[in-house]
């Protein structure tokens, strides 16, 4: 499995994702520059956290026009794995690869803290190593991570089972007090209908080793690394 990690100017989780892929998981790592016009044979493309292009105008608003995004859109259409983390999730929403938007946290403040996530889909390439309804502990770090969608979109997401992660308490209860940013339905991560594009606000690459306070994030990387899904790149 070859992971591609996209680097926009202003991206900062690229090195953390790269560290986990290369040093912890031991998978193949390829950085992809925002001006690149091909995905260099990567099997899973990660759009990491940061402030791509300074998040000027609106989070992800400029990044979606980067040359590499054209390729990523086509790759997703062909069923390739695309994984947006934090700023990457925001970019995927702006690019229309995922529905809805991420708006300012309800607290109006940046939040960097640990959260619990209920894993609602374990049949995906991203989550196959998680137990059914497992609660994992993953930190967030964002100012604009409150998931928002029109009521119709939201109910479609729920009906289709596209909600992958929901903020919950340590016991797995999805309650308002466990919601760190005001996301509708406590949504922390969603996928497209096909299940090959995942967007999530929490940072699994920050919790892949116990010395960083937890290693639950590793399950997601291991899931992808072990996934048999390969898409032929023409």
């Amino acid at each position: 499995m070859k992971f591609g990690v996209v680097v926009f100017p202003g991206t900062w989780s690229d090195r953390d994702c790269g560290w986990v892929i290369d040093q912890v998981v031991g998978a193949q790592l390829q950085y992809l520059w925002h001006k690149d016009a091909d995905l260099k044979g990567c099997d899973c493309v990660i759009l990491p956290g940061g402030f791509a292009y300074g998040d000027h105008l609106r989070t992800g608003a400029i990044a979606r026009f980067a040359p590499v995004m054209q390729e990523i859109g086509e790759y997703a259409d062909r069923g390739g794995l695309v994984w947006g983390i934090c700023n990457g999730f925001q970019i995927l929403c702006e690019a229309g690869l995922l529905p809805g938007a991420l708006i300012r946290n309800a607290s109006l403040e940046y939040r960097c803290e640990w959260t619990h996530l209920a894993v609602e889909r374990t049949d995906l390439a991203f989550t196959s190593k998680c137990e059914d309804r497992e609660v994992i502990r993953v930190p967030i770090s964002h100012g604009e991570g409150s998931y928002f969608a029109e009521p119709a979109v939201l109910s479609r997401l729920e009906q289709n089972g596209q909600v992958v992660f929901r903020y919950c308490d340590a016991d797995g209860r999805v309650v308002p007090t466990a919601n760190p940013n005001g996301s509708l339905h406590n949504i922390a991560g969603i996928m497209n209908k096909r299940g090959n594009v995942l967007g999530m606000m929490p940072h699994p690459e920050r919790c892949a080793e116990p010395e960083l306070g937890g290693a639950d994030g590793l399950k997601l990387f291991r899931s992808v690394a072990g996934s048999a899904l390969r898409v032929l790149v023409s």
């Binding site: 100017p9 202003g10 900062w12 989780s13 090195r15 953390d16 560290w19 986990v20 040093q23 956290g49 940061g50 402030f51 292009y53 300074g54 998040d55 000027h56 403040e109 940046y110 939040r111 960097c112 803290e113 930190p139 770090s141 100012g143 940072h203 690459e205 920050r206 892949a208 080793e209 010395e211 960083l212 306070g213």
Partner: protein, 754 residues
Amino acid sequence: MSLDTVDSRRLREVALTPEEYRVIVEKLRRPPNAVELGMLGVLWSEHCSYKTSKMLLRRLPSTGDAVLQGPGENAGAVEIGSGWAAVFKIESHNHPSAIEPYQGAATGVGGIIRDVIAMGARPIALLDSLRFGPLPGSRHHFDGVVAGIGGYGNCIGIPTVGGEVYFDECYANNPIVNAMCVGLVRVDRLMRARAEGTGNSLMLVGADTGRDGIHGASFASLELDESSSERRPAVQVGNPFLEKCLLEACMDLAQTDAVVAVQDLGAAGLTSSVAECAGRVPGAGARIDVSLVPRRERGMTPYDVMLSESQERMLVVVQRGRESEVERIFSTWDLTSAVIGDVTDDGHLTVFDQTQVVARLPIELLTDGAPPRRLAGIAPEPAPSLRLDSLPPLLDPGESLLRLLASPNLCSRRPIFRRYDHMVGDSTVVAPGGDAALLRIKGTRLGLAVTTDCNARYCHLDPNVGAQHAVAEAARNIVATGARPLAVTDCLNLANPDRPEVYWELEETIAGLAQACRALELPIVSGNVSLYNETFPATSGAPAPQGAGGRPRSGPPDGEVHSGIHPTPVVGMIGVIDDYARRLEAGLKHEGDFVLLVGSSLNDLGGSEYLKVEHGTVAGRPPALDLAREATVNRLILAAAKAGQLRSAHDCGDGGMLVALAECCLLGGMGVRCPALRPEAPLRLDAAFFGETPGRFIVSVGSRAMPELQTLARRHHVEISLLGMAGGDTVEFEGQFRLTLDQIRQAWETGLQF
């Protein structure tokens, strides 16, 4: 312009005294022109020249086996093992933050990051030492500064892992914002900002130059008054996105050998960066052409270009002929770069505007010419003494504990640090909230502990002993993680040194720092001095409505109340642990562990938080500090940590033993049961619970390790006493008080809610 003809208004504008002007004319053997006068004004400002403090600063120890780079560069550097060097520095951004809290703090962070980048190091951690007036009155400063630090640090992707916040009336109009940055570089790739090699090119990279921040350095060397808000153009605006690109480009650049040196453009902009870079090489000079400087706006004069403090710019000295290589790296990151001049060997900074020479000054006159100011210090009236026997006895330690934990100076800092990304980089193995933060060095077993400390109330009561305490406490915070203290960076924040009492405070502060650093064998490798943290007269809220504007260094009219800050010598310290798997944290870990107090307690209530919160007074003397004793206790803790005897360790600091014990419980999510505390005379009960005797730690130990620890303590001649047993969800001293963890948490976590 002779002294007779030079407009005194013009001199005030560049913050030079008539005496300094006379020296300039004498050295140049001609009057300076307007551009030269402006350049000299900024470089001779206190902020850049350290003219008031530099004689005193020589007393600070700055050498040691691990030191790779001491003061005088963009930042200091020490070797930490496995071929790595830690590069670090702390710097103030007090004046800008007083006027425009968000941008003032943000650009403070941006500036210190560039200092570390200039050494070739990748920044890995930020810390911020903050002081404000009491809340809610100083909410405007507090909110803006915290948001500004987060806004910059979060966006650029460097974790903000530590710092401190205190509240006191003396900071109401003079908030303190000190930012520290720590970076890593391979020892053999450490860079110095020296303009070597005649004919090498000077390139300016990063942001275009605008009119922002002209005279910022001079402004930082004045007292704030009612005209200060008119100086808003002297406060710069930060662009962390641009700096992130600059950071990555400089990291790429450091991999090539096309670059001789990199220098940050900070205070005094192009003038100081070129002069300092050349000033570090004997005989070197520089030629620059302002017409080649990429500009943000039209109609800028050479004066504007030379003095602009536009942020996110760097000066790069490039091997002649390899400019295009450097330009390519910058353009990869969509950054503008331009050759603006070259290195010469004539010892002068010559500024051209195309073909016309607009300024020509000896480098030495710029960087080293400001006449040192030798002022006389006079000790002020001592603070009121403290008569312990007049203090009412402690009635309910539990109630006092709750009030102390809820006090803004002691309560949880989580509402602040959860607004900072403290995890990016995948290195933070001890997060903020305990003693020092600890970062692992990837690819090694090494851990780097970082902290900032200063109890300014102690410094107010006795600046010498207070400064020693700042060093001792920082060292204890490092030791509490299991790391050994290695080196120091300091930021000396004081009021107006033209007042003899303040100059005396400066002398005493430096003497105290020097003494403590010598005793604990800690070199000071970088630092910053911020004077004139003073407004007049004292009013709450907005800057004072009186006083004529723009008076350089003039005191308030006689009879008015001074409102200067307490001496606030912030000590930033780093330490190293050989294997971060052996790190310690403050929180209790296991039910049934013994909880011990290491070190002896005395009746140290002078200047304590207990005295302030419970008795409404700031009086007495700070606790006496025995530096040899500090070193011994630190050695004991490190030996016990290395031997794996300790489960947790926490410095006993502000608020005393009981506050520290409560923190161990809160951070560990576990209570403690203790027999009644019955101190032996002459130790008082209030001092046993809340006295702030230094040289103490609270540790927890598994029962099997107890005998070994006792033996080790005896060998070090350090007293250890059993406080109680970890476990349960209450904090209890039998027969004295019993509180649930929830009660304690409630008090601790709501202290900053206003």
